[in-house]
């Protein structure tokens, strides 16, 4: 028997979002296709679903770019069924405004993620390879928070303590008597060592889970031409063999660098310097892989993320697929889409309506034209 989809976005209400006409859309469990010519609003519709779940866009960091021209804000709403319980999500945002609700009460990312998480497959920007370590940490952290929403608080506390510590280090550099600051630095290091140990443990675990999925036969790594890609976590600070990265060990590592930190005026140790290595046959893919291999690896990693999310939470995230077909050759696209049909909900935006005609997996096909959404017939 086919297992029922655990998490389903049942509907979406859009008001004043991008070029979309104000609308109410019903989604189905399984494969939903949105087709239309480029520039008509397919991706905007995916973006609206993503924003509803995650409180941000996957295309821009500028919230004020999202309201329809002439409006200062937009609102989105939707019904989600999660483990057979129905929930109402809402978000209202614009310049200087971001309010979320879950079942009518004020909510935050952590709470909302517990009900609906999203994963996007969009034109890969390859920041994972071409960007800095912060891009790779973000890739890990978003996956971790998706699987363990309460980690939102740990990351927030870590960032806050780090900012406090950096301010102290800056003061220490600016000729205040350093001795008076040392005890305060130690107090914030205490906080940091605690959050750092948790973040380190979670990242290590998450990379291990991703690695296992990548190593599977017939798994997502099959999409990548050549040898199977592998990943490894590079925590900071590196500790001696046998050390687990406990709070006490990290505290000692922090203290060891305290003088350097005071001299440099900013924090030098901690998970804010972690990195992730993605390699193929022992060679760093950022340096040695072709753009095609990198793109395929990115998609494979995203698929692995999805499987790990299922492993961690018991349900799949909502998948949003934006024109993956443009990025891979036909054979791999078919393979990717084969992997994409399973007991989960997928919304695919595609420029070609014909490609889906007659595809029996499609349970709903919508068409977008000038921001107006209609049933495809």
């Amino acid at each position: 028997m086919k297992k029922p989809t655990e998490t389903v976005l049942r509907s979406l209400n859009c008001v004043s979002f991008r070029n979309l006409q104000d609308t109410h859309i019903e989604w189905c469990a399984g494969l939903n296709v949105i087709s239309g010519d480029n520039g008509h609003g397919k991706t905007n519709l995916l973006e609206a679903c993503f924003f509803l779940a995650m409180g941000r866009s996957f295309r821009t960091a500028r919230v004020d770019a999202l309201p329809r021209r002439g409006s200062s804000s937009f609102s989105l709403g939707g019904e989600v069924s999660h483990r057979q319980v129905s929930h109402r999500l809402g978000v209202k945002a614009g310049r200087g405004l971001r309010e979320r609700t879950l079942d009518g009460c004020q909510s935050d990312l952590g709470r909302t993620l517990g009900v609906l998480a999203c994963l996007v497959f969009a034109a890969p920007r390859l920041a994972l390879f071409r960007g800095g370590p912060d891009d790779r940490r973000r890739f890990l952290d978003r996956g971790i928070v998706g699987g363990k929403p309460f980690m939102v608080e740990t990351y927030r506390d870590h960032l806050r303590a780090l900012r406090q510590k950096n301010r102290l280090l800056k003061q220490a550099r600016q000729a205040r008597p350093v001795a008076a600051l040392r005890d305060q630095l130690a107090a914030f290091n205490d906080q940091l060592a605690g959050t750092a140990a948790t973040i380190r443990r979670e990242r290590e675990d998450y990379v291990k889970r991703l690695g296992k999925v990548l190593a599977r036969d017939e798994g997502p790594a099959e999409l990548v031409p050549g040898r199977r890609p592998e990943i490894s976590y590079q925590p900071h600070p590196t500790l001696e063999e046998g050390m687990t990265g406990s709070r006490e060990q990290l505290m000692a590592a922090y203290e060891e660098r305290a003088e350097d930190e005071i001299r440099r005026g900013h924090a030098l140790v901690g998970p804010q310097r972690d990195d992730l290595s993605i390699h193929q046959d022992g060679a760093e893919m950022s340096r040695f892989a072709s753009a095609g291999q990198q793109r395929a690896t990115l998609i494979a990693l995203k698929m692995s993320k999805m499987l790990v999310h299922k492993e961690m939470t018991g349900s799949y995230p909502l998948l949003l697929v934006d024109d993956v077909d443009a990025e891979l050759d036909a054979h791999r696209t078919r393979r990717a889409l084969h992997l994409l049909s399973g007991p989960y909900q997928v919304l695919v935006a595609s420029a070609s309506a014909e490609a889906w005609a007659g595809d029996r997996r499609v349970v709903r096909h919508l068409r977008v034209r000038d921001g107006i959404i209609s049933r495809f017939s």
Partner: protein, 200 residues
């Protein structure tokens, strides 16, 4: 838009400086006052003026008080060997309401917050050290709040105050009484799990 008459605008501005009050609420409060009988308004104004005149920090524990030393510090029935350190004056009332505590207090009037420019010298820590100097206090309870700054302040104080056999403790963090596991927020639950105890 026409602006409010001078005195109205001034009072709205003053109300807006209060925590949790935005422009709309400030306006509502002011127009509510305008509609009240003059005696009510005068009595409010007098109460506000008395704050300046009649209230000061207790010279021992720094709690806000109208008699100095405050009611707790001058109560002979209190246990003078324990001091509970809190962030704000209102925290004293919260601990008192628990009915669990008979010791003394010390109000820090804030927590360490380098980003806001608040260091130890801006808090009442030196005064706390003076109270501990004679050695008659056996336990200090660090009851600062559980956020990053509150925790860091507790950890700072634990180091700075450590001396001899002075016992330094921090209140346990756990499940709210009468709460069901399912409805406890996850941060509280995570902390409660971390601070779990043997059943014996």
């Amino acid at each position: 838009m026409t602006s409010f008459p001078g005195p109205v605008a001034r009072l709205i501005d003053e109300f807006r400086k209060l925590p949790g009050i935005g422009s709309k609420s400030a306006q509502r409060l002011v127009f509510h006052l305008i509609a009240r009988p003059a005696d009510d308004v005068r009595s409010l104004a007098a109460a506000v003026a008395d704050l300046e005149e009649g209230v000061r920090p207790c010279r021992i524990c720094h709690q806000i008080t109208d008699i100095d030393p405050c009611a707790v510090c001058s109560d002979p029935g209190r246990d003078t060997t324990v001091i509970c350190v809190v962030e704000r004056p209102s925290d004293v009332l919260a601990v008192e309401d628990s009915g669990e505590y008979r010791g003394l207090y010390h109000v820090l009037h804030g927590v360490l917050n380098p980003l806001a420019g608040i260091g130890p010298e801006a808090l009442t820590i030196a005064a706390l050290e003076q109270r501990l100097a004679p050695g008659t206090v056996h336990e200090v309870i660090l009851a600062t709040n559980a956020g990053v700054e509150g925790e860091a302040t507790a950890s700072y104080l634990a180091r700075r105050l450590a001396a001899g056999d002075l016992r330094i403790t921090r209140p346990a963090q756990g499940m709210p009484a009468g709460s069901e596991l399912e409805y406890t927020d996850r941060l509280t639950l995570a902390r409660a799990l971390r601070g779990r105890q043997n059943m014996d």
